[in-house]
């Protein structure tokens, strides 16, 4: 099978972000950027399916600024075969990303698309579901286990009450949850090899999609700060505070 994996370049999960003074967005200058952690899990899953000889080819796709090439190189070093970069400086929102991905998928015709469940910058948790809708394909979101068969796929999903197993007809869109796998680090030889793997660069115009954002961001602000409290010396004092001061027990 042919697998398409999407990867987004986001602020690294370890960075404590700051809101810009003019409330127009987040301070991004000189900040460490990484592959969205859920997308690392998506790449890893595809690579494992290739190692099991279930997948034949893995194509990774990203949309965004020129530096997104680095994210694609990381995915190639993890084991993807080739990459597509839709290069744009526009602000990207899930519906626009889904439309661009659909245009690519109409051409690439993968059997399976694996995406992250959520980008940890916008926290939207939408793009995979939207893409599946636009394609008219089934979706398996929040996957913690993916078991392909010939023309279908069984996936286990992390749901609010526990786990759920569903069967999807292929082609399908799957989004990853944290327990699906533990992504590998690319080895140095693989990082070197990845430099020779092909990256195709496209413009939104070439895809014939309009990426203009639908939602207008009016402002970005700091959340209300929570005041730190006090340290209590022992259990007795804690119980007293909870009973008589906070009155929550």
């Amino acid at each position: 099978m042919k697998i398409l994996v999407t990867v987004k370049r986001v602020v690294d999960f370890n960075v404590k972000i700051r809101v810009k003074a003019d409330n127009s967005g987040i301070e991004l200058a000189n900040i460490k950027m990484s592959m969205n952690p859920f997308d690392e899990i998506a790449v890893e899953e595809a690579v494992r399916l290739k190692e099991k000889n279930i997948a034949k080819e893995i194509v990774v796709v990203t949309l965004g600024v020129a530096q997104c090439q680095e994210t694609l190189r990381t995915a190639l070093a993890m084991g993807a075969d080739r990459a597509i970069h839709v290069q744009t400086d526009l602000e990207l929102q899930p519906l626009a990303v889904a439309k661009a991905l659909k245009a690519i998928i109409d051409k690439e015709k993968p059997d399976l698309v694996i995406m992250g469940k959520q980008a940890i910058d916008d926290d939207c948790n939408q793009t995979g579901q939207m893409l599946a809708a636009l394609l008219g394909w089934p979706q398996g979101t929040f996957a913690s286990k993916v078991e392909p068969e010939t023309d279908k796929l069984q996936i286990t999903r992390e749901v609010d009450g526990g786990l759920e197993t569903i069967e999807l007809k292929l082609p399908a869109v799957v989004t990853t949850d944290l327990r699906l796998n533990e992504p590998r680090y690319a080895s140095l030889p693989n990082i070197m090899k990845a430099k020779k793997k092909p990256i195709e660069t496209l413009t939104p115009e070439q895809l014939g999609v309009n990426l203009t954002p639908r939602l207008k961001t009016i402002k970005v602000t700091e959340p209300p700060k929570r005041k730190g409290g006090i340290k209590v010396s022992d259990v007795a004092m804690l119980v007293d505070k909870l009973r008589n001061e906070a009155k929550v027990i």
């Binding site: 940890i120 926290d123 793009t127 526990g162 939602l215 804690l238």
Partner: protein
Amino acid sequence: MPTLIVAEHDHKNLKPSTLHVVAAAKAVGQPTTILVAGFNCSEAVKAATSIVGIEKVLHADDAAYEHFLAENMAALVVKLAKEFSHVMTPATRIGKNFMPRVAALLDVAQISDVIAIESADTFQRPIYAGNAIATVQSKDAIKVITVRATVFDKAPATGGNATVTKIDGTGDSGLTKFIGQELSKSERPELTAARIIVSGGRALGSGENFKLLEALADKLNAAIGASRAAVDAGYVPNDYQVGQTGKIVAPDLYIAIGISGAIQHLAGMKDSKVIVAINKDPDAPIFQIADYGLVGDLFQIVPALTAAL
């Protein structure tokens, strides 16, 4: 134009999150219809008729909605949506699954995890694990919204008197099939609805040691939560995870035990009314947001706390 709420329920009872969404919809200030799509779900329909603030209940009863498969739910909601200016549902796993599908089929944006409704077209939502709040405006004809339930009050469950209209379903897509589920069994309150949560981290060291938290939770009639590290290590099931990518909770009392306080964890619990942290590291970030911090070894403190209650 009116607002449509897609109810979350288990065919018998409405989930509390549904009542929070009804309260949120009030801020939009329009007549509100609620859709109960399920299988043999007349009890849930009946419950929906008595919510204060609901004028109409749409009842779709079909095996296709038994497991709320996204493809089937989305087809139905899309068919109804044209009559409404706003479509809202809780930002739970079910809502997050089908709602973006609705938005894409309507060719509109979805506004995820809304925490404030400023006007009919302007909303606030958290980004970057809640470390920033974006105010966004939608000019789309239909606003498709998932609501962060914890920040809105609950609409009264009784006192309303809505009319019921039975509607046809849109059938089964044939794309996905429900195979089975493995739900965590618990006598405890549901995590997102609990008044008190006792939450454990990596420091617990094993699933067995979570029994310490259970004893404490029994005393407090609390739910049990966990950090990602505790879930990843297999100490507790995935549905215990609190945080940016787990469940968002806001109980009256949240007791974080052996949890360091990573931003991804704080994202899920920092709206709790009172936070207690128990951690042996006096510099653990969790203390920066805790109302009451107790520095020490959880294996001594937790049994002592349980005994003191």
